[in-house]
């Protein structure tokens, strides 16, 4: 495919003799695979990719296509290097031995559900404590309720400023960033989707929990907050960290 011969025998050519487009493809594939495969396994996968590409190129060459046309056909048929690398990474990740339950829901989903479930539970516990055991001294603010009212008129509540309030607020705001990032570091492919699939049932659970807290509305506000803030932020952070992990791994030579 690589070489100058009209019908290519990839088995006999080294990676350096590949057609430039194929070489670039194989290098990219190799680099992306290095995020999840040791050198020996990667060598098999890259070899197989070249083997398949070679056969696809030959399919076209025997029909009279030019080498350029045949290579383009082979690359288009085999799929993008990122897609193939992700298919291997995801396949290996999801096929690790695990319990039937984890196999059923998917390993990536299980990891995301674990992290986000703990985050949701922690925030719910803080909300419960805030509502049913509102202990702790309120923090002193540098202005009086009357001064606040002059800026924020009557229907708006004077904010409660206890340490517990700030802890709950911090959890609700910071957790999706932290948890999304941690999920992305463990799930090599489609981490954002795993967050989406796991957080959706958790939001439903938060909504039901919020209904249980009525007439206090903080639980329902948390469910809405998860929907409009946790979901996009955690999914984005998971996607970014997963991408960074895949791209940060240097490609060892073999």
């Amino acid at each position: 495919m690589i070489s100058a011969a009209p019908i290519l025998d990839s088995s006999k050519v080294s990676k350096d003799d590949l057609h430039p487009m194929l070489r670039r493809y194989v290098d990219d594939l190799d680099r992306t695979l290095s995020a999840g495969f040791p050198a020996e396994e990667r060598r098999v996968l890259v070899d197989e990719a070249i083997f398949v590409l070679d056969l696809l190129v030959n399919e076209k060459l025997v029909l009279g296509a030019t080498v350029e046309e045949a290579v383009s056909y082979a690359l288009a048929t085999f799929g993008s290097q990122t897609g193939i690398a992700n298919a291997h990474l995801e396949g290996k990740f999801e096929s690790k031995p695990s319990s039937p339950l984890i196999q059923y829901i998917g390993r990536a989903n299980a990891i995301a559900l674990g992290y986000l479930g703990i985050g949701t539970l922690l925030t719910m516990i803080l909300l419960q404590i805030r509502i049913y055991m509102p202990g702790g001294d309120a923090l002193r603010m540098p202005f009086t309720p009357a001064q606040v009212r002059s800026v924020l008129p009557d229907p708006l509540p004077f904010p409660q400023t206890s340490p517990l309030f700030y802890l709950t607020l911090a959890c609700a705001v910071v957790l999706p960033f932290v948890l999304g990032w941690m999920i992305g570091r463990q799930v090599p492919v489609r981490a954002g989707s795993a967050v989406y699939r796991s957080l959706s049932p958790l939001i439903l659970a938060s909504f039901l929990f919020g209904c249980g807290l009525l007439p206090n509305t903080e639980g329902l506000l948390f469910a809405i907050w998860q929907l409009i803030f946790w979901l996009p932020v955690a999914a984005l952070c998971a996607y970014l960290s997963s991408t960074l992990v895949r791209n940060a791994v240097p490609r060892p030579k073999f």
């Binding site: 990839s10 088995s11 098999v44 197989e48 083997f51 799929g79 096929s95 031995p97």
Partner: protein, 119 residues
């Protein structure tokens, strides 16, 4: 109006469909990934699209579930490639899924085509 003689390209046939097809193809003999993809295209007369990006995760999953086993082969002077074959469990599943598919296809054919020749 659509040309009814033109092969209908599906968007894909999902994991369950892909698994059934792969089991049926491996029932004959062991094959590597390219061989499996080529057989799917050939036997379906290019009606079933084959994406290697879907094929590989399906093969990993089937191997995890014990339906197939893989070995890395390197014929002399050739590149390494992974070859897949059915396990005993995979063999039984191939037979079962074939019967299930035939039942389903027969039922659907009776309903959709009402005894007429399929288009």
């Amino acid at each position: 109006m659509k040309d009814s003689t033109k092969p209908v390209k599906d968007e894909g046939f999902g994991f369950a469909g892909a698994q059934t097809v792969i089991l049926a193809i491996l029932l004959e003999k062991e094959r590597h990934a390219y061989d499996i993809a080529r057989e799917i295209r050939r036997l379906s007369e290019d009606r079933l699209p084959v994406h290697f990006g879907t094929l590989y995760p399906t093969l990993y999953r089937m191997e995890r579930d014990g339906l197939i086993a893989s070995t890395v082969e390197q014929p002399v002077g050739e590149r390494q490639r992974r070859t897949y074959c059915l396990t005993d469990k995979g063999h039984a599943e191939a037979v079962r899924s074939r019967m299930a598919w035939n039942n389903f296809a027969t039922a659907m054919n009776k309903i959709v085509n009402r005894g007429e020749e399929p288009i």
